[in-house]
Symmetry: C2
Subunit: 242 residues, 2 copies
């Protein structure tokens, strides 16, 4: 059975303006690979209602899961929850269980549970909450769309709450070989080997270190025995020169 | 006159598998902001012909410019040039000027100009070359799609060759204020101020440092006088507490 598929949607003007370098995509990619969910595509859009709705509605029918990051805080530019509700055509309102979680959190912290903070209890109808052990304000899953915070440590904590509830497949395995030759030297033999293992993915990543060209060759797949067989062939093609 | 708009397409299995953390999007975002081109969207797809063609043909009619990174090296998984040619419905073949640049480069380096390396001279019909001062193999622009390498220092060098040839608009300016209060404390006043400056973009980015909550407030726009006016109002709302 093929692995479930997924897309990510990163939401936030700060990524597209160059202010902030996103790190959630890279973190999610690694976690999904380990969990056996194939990340097929990612998109980044700004804090724009129409752009979020359009991206969610393009991605959710195309993949088993859609993971979003960003735009669920207390400020006026946090518009993700409303956009998700609109994308699904469902109402959104303050939900009692989310409100209670936040009220308890702010009472413990001795902070006012004001109108801006109560906004974070607005959840689209029919969603399941995603626990946030860092700052309480929950994420949520609506259908196959999982809505999480953009602040990296909160995103990571929410993903840790969510991922065990999703059915995974075979983890993506990878092995790599460093070769002290430029990509153009090894391309032909590497490509010919790749053609003999169509069930595996062969990637080559050139680098320059101390003025010398080298290439990292990476083979990825879900079948450990096939991966071992391909790596043995690769090691024979490019014996260690050191 | 509004600024030109742009999208980025990042191409490569290594980004979606979690092996590599992309840095080209963040670099491009900063350069475009300075050049007055508004980056509106980014997408990441794998080394998949159909996915690249579909993304290019979704993005190129929607924005003034599309910038791609990745997939133009010498190995079998470098399929971007063919996918771009297919997306435009034009033929692709080895082009003499590109071949001559590469032949001279490998002759200087004392390396064989083999079949894999000659593959990097395959350019879609009608494209303009983008100079690559690092490793010679050129990028290219076809219509409004600018095709560049994925290796970060080569991507950056190609962008430096390309960007001066593109008409920019008003650079995106930003000013920020650090406030020693949580996002939920300042959200209401910040949102009310934002509503009075609809031509500017107001963003708030919470952080925790030494256990204390703080928020970076950022205002962005292209009109320096308006930005100054908004910042003066912001500083009055949240006077320095230190």
């Amino acid at each position: 059975m093929p692995n479930p598929t997924a897309a990510m949607l990163v939401i936030g003007d700060e990524i597209l303006s160059g202010r902030t370098r996103d790190s959630n995509l890279h973190f999610l990619a690694g976690e999904l690979a380990r969990h056996g969910i194939d990340l097929k595509e990612a998109r980044v859009v700004g804090d724009d209602h129409g752009a979020i709705v359009a991206a969610v509605n393009a991605l959710r029918p195309a993949y088993d899961h859609v993971f979003t990051s960003g735009g669920i805080g207390p400020t006026h530019d946090d518009i993700t929850a409303d956009a998700i509700a609109d994308a699904f055509g469902v109402p959104i309102a303050v939900r009692e269980d989310a409100r209670a979680i936040l009220a308890a959190h702010y009472e413990r912290a001795g902070l006012e549970f004001n109108a801006a903070r109560q906004r974070m209890a607005r959840i689209p109808e029919g969603a399941r909450l995603i626990e946030n052990p860092i700052s309480a304000a929950p994420g949520f899953s609506l259908g196959n769309v999982h809505v999480m915070a953009g602040v990296p440590n909160i995103f990571q904590a929410m993903l840790a709450s969510l991922l065990p509830t999703l059915t995974g497949g075979a983890p993506l395995l990878s092995q790599s070989l460093r070769v002290d030759r430029g990509e153009g030297e090894i391309a032909e033999a590497f490509g010919a080997l790749a053609a003999q293992f169509p069930d595996l993915s062969f990637g080559s990543y050139p680098f320059v270190r101390n003025g010398a060209h080298g290439t990292n060759l990476v083979i990825r797949g879900t079948d450990a025995a096939r991966l071992d067989a391909a790596m043995a062939r690769l090691a024979a093609l490019f014996p260690a020169t050191g």
